[in-house]
């Protein structure tokens, strides 16, 4: 068994599937770009799409902590608000042209949220158990009250006049396209980074902590470090999502980032399947669009929403995808195998 593998070489099938995924992503991006640009998708719908991509970033990042690390977080909206206010204040007061200030604001939002992640995470994650849930719950509320109490954040009146992401005078369609481009590619970056993290040695350590913290520690995993790493990474992306939200809506109201919103994000992660990135994406899409479809039944909207959730939880308690990931290459290989005689099928689950 002395196979001479060339060191450092990426397996060919992996390269192919990466390339296919990239092509599909670009194709999807261009498709919606054209649809928005030509007005087939109106501004209202493209606004919902923007919210949807922001929710994908939030849900996937939360899933890293609640799904892969196995720690409950009840204050994700808190990190989002930190990012939102950071980026908004930066673009408001930095004096830089918005096309430069906005990208910097996004990174800054992530970094500041990550710093808060460290501050919250260090005391909470050194302990074993569900302390993180309580502490993040408290954090989410405290940060909201602080924002309410401060002057520079606009207090209860909210922060107004956040600049649009294009210079003034740009038309509505190009603004929609710019927003769409930002949220689309940042959602892609979030998903790819978290996916790549999870399949690396660091991600394995994180999953091992979820499975059995004591055994992970005994296997040489520095549990505190990896818990903090995953948590801070999630906080970073929540901050990024906040910065996008701030510039999408244009007005920040502290009451938006309340406990309900944190739970809503958690709900998406749970519904999609804790430990499944693709599940999070699907759930974020469905749960963003669903309320819009139900707008016609205004009175029963939340009722229907709740019933759908209960049904999913009854029949698939681990969420839509469980811990599985949707993989295009696996789907293709399964389909082709079926056509070739169906010798090996149903090996999934």
């Amino acid at each position: 068994m002395t196979k001479q593998k060339k060191p450092g070489l990426v397996p060919k099938n992996k390269l192919v599937s990466y390339a296919v995924n990239l092509v599909l992503l670009v194709a999807a991006y261009l498709l919606f770009f054209v649809l928005i640009g030509s007005g087939v998708i109106n501004r209202y719908t493209s606004g919902i799409m923007t919210t949807m991509f922001i929710n994908i970033i939030l849900t996937v990042s939360l899933n890293l902590v609640s799904g892969f690390l196995g720690q409950l977080v009840l204050g994700h909206a808190g990190f989002m608000s930190v990012g939102a206010y950071t980026a908004a204040l930066f673009t408001l007061y930095s004096g830089l042209p918005i096309t430069i200030a906005f990208p910097i604001g996004i990174v800054l939002a992530g970094v500041v949220a990550a710093v808060f992640g460290v501050i919250i995470g260090v005391p909470a994650l050194r302990l074993r158990g569900d302390y993180l849930a309580i502490i993040t719950l408290g954090f989410g509320e405290i940060i909201r009250v602080i924002i309410l109490a401060c002057d520079f954040t606009g207090g209860a009146k909210g922060l107004r006049g956040i600049p649009t992401i294009l210079p003034q005078g740009s038309d509505a369609t190009s603004l929609s396209l710019a927003k769409y481009s930002y949220v689309f590619w940042l959602a892609v970056v979030t998903v790819v980074v978290i996916w790549a993290f999870v399949r690396s040695r660091h991600g394995r350590a994180v999953i091992a902590i979820r499975e059995d913290e004591i055994a992970a520690e005994a296997s040489g995993v520095h549990t505190t470090y990896y818990k903090l790493f995953a948590f801070v990474m999630a906080a970073f992306f929540a901050g990024v999502a906040g910065s996008l939200y701030a510039h999408h809506i244009g007005v920040l109201d502290p009451s938006k980032f309340n406990f309900d919103y944190s739970v809503e994000i958690l709900l998406m992660a749970v519904l999609g399947g804790l430990g499944s990135i693709t599940g999070s994406i699907i759930a974020a899409i469905v749960l963003t669009i669903l309320p819009e479809f139900l707008r016609g039944f205004e009175d029963y909207r939340m009722l229907i929403y709740a019933v759908i959730l209960i049904i999913v939880m009854l029949f698939k308690p681990s969420g839509l995808m469980g811990q599985h990931e949707f993989s295009l290459s696996r789907l293709v290989s399964r389909l082709t195998a079926k056509r070739a005689g169906g010798a090996k099928q149903g090996k999934g689950e």
């Binding site: 990426v10 993290f197 690396s200 040695r201 991600g203 040489g220 811990q323």
Partner: protein
């Protein structure tokens, strides 16, 4: 205690080890020396403090008094993961596998401590990521082959039968190339055939991985059959120590196990 072996290099030394839990001396003045390539047994009735000794050795508890040395260096005050990195690996009385991870990943997690690529290299898929991952997969598969688990590499750990779960836990402990392997009741819940198989496996481990083994076990035929040296604990204290023959005939041991008048 002085047992003269031909080339007895001490690997793990415990001196005057004690721990007190609120007035209870769970482990009291325990001392032993584990030599290179030795298989030593730690036995005693239930509640004698055997697992507590393991927890002291692996840094789960910090001893109230005493000293623990690995290769002559003190490991007191070190965290569990640091001690594991230094070369003390263990298994657990109740199997603690990463249940929802694949068999291969269970082993790969324990190899993490020997890997070097950064989180950034992993996320960006730099050459160091692919190189190290390929190397680790090969090494992990080799290790699984030793335990005849290679066919289950992609199965979830929780789906393995009991005996194989025990084996996987040992394989995981060996994944970090330890100097000392601590086995907490490896034969618990096994039938005689599986126990006999396990004895062979442990002998194989010793010869193949050059690791000193300290094991806790209640199955006396197993202990007598495999250990070169035994330490008997009762109420946290060492009541006897020596070769299996010496211990078997020791009246104190008989009293501890069967009760005396």
């Amino acid at each position: 205690m002085a047992e003269s072996e031909k080339k007895s290099v001490p690997v793990l030394e415990a001196e005057n080890l004690s721990i007190v839990f609120g007035g209870l001396h769970a482990v009291d003045d325990v001392h032993f020396t584990l030599h290179e390539n030795q298989i030593m047994g730690l036995i005693g009735p239930n509640g004698a403090g055997k697992t507590t000794v393991f927890n002291l050795l692996t840094g789960v508890y910090t001893p109230t008094t005493g000293q623990i040395k690995l290769d002559g260096r003190s490991i007191l005050g070190k965290k569990t993961y640091q001690i594991t990195k230094m070369g003390v690996a263990r298994t657990f009385q109740n199997i603690r596998l990463f249940k929802d991870m694949s068999v291969l990943d269970n082993v790969r997690v324990a190899m993490n401590q020997k890997m070097n690529y950064s989180a950034l290299a992993g996320i960006l898929g730099l050459p160091s990521y692919w190189r190290e991952e390929a190397a680790v997969e090969e090494k992990a598969m080799d290790l699984l082959r030793v335990f005849h688990l290679e066919g289950h590499a992609q199965d979830r750990a929780k789906n393995l039968p009991y005996g194989q779960q025990r084996k996987l836990e040992i394989a995981r402990a060996l994944a970090g190339d330890p100097k000392v392997l601590l086995l907490d009741e490896p034969a618990a819940g096994m039938n005689p055939t599986e126990t006999a198989e396990l004895m062979e496996t442990i002998e194989l481990i010793r010869s193949r991985f050059h690791v000193a083994i300290l094991l806790i076990e209640h199955d006396m035929s197993f202990v007598m059959g495999i250990c070169e040296h035994l330490v008997v604990l009762d109420y946290g204290r060492i009541i006897a120590s020596g070769t299996p023959e010496e211990v078997r005939t020791n009246p104190k041991v008989i009293t501890a196990y069967l009760g005396g008048e």
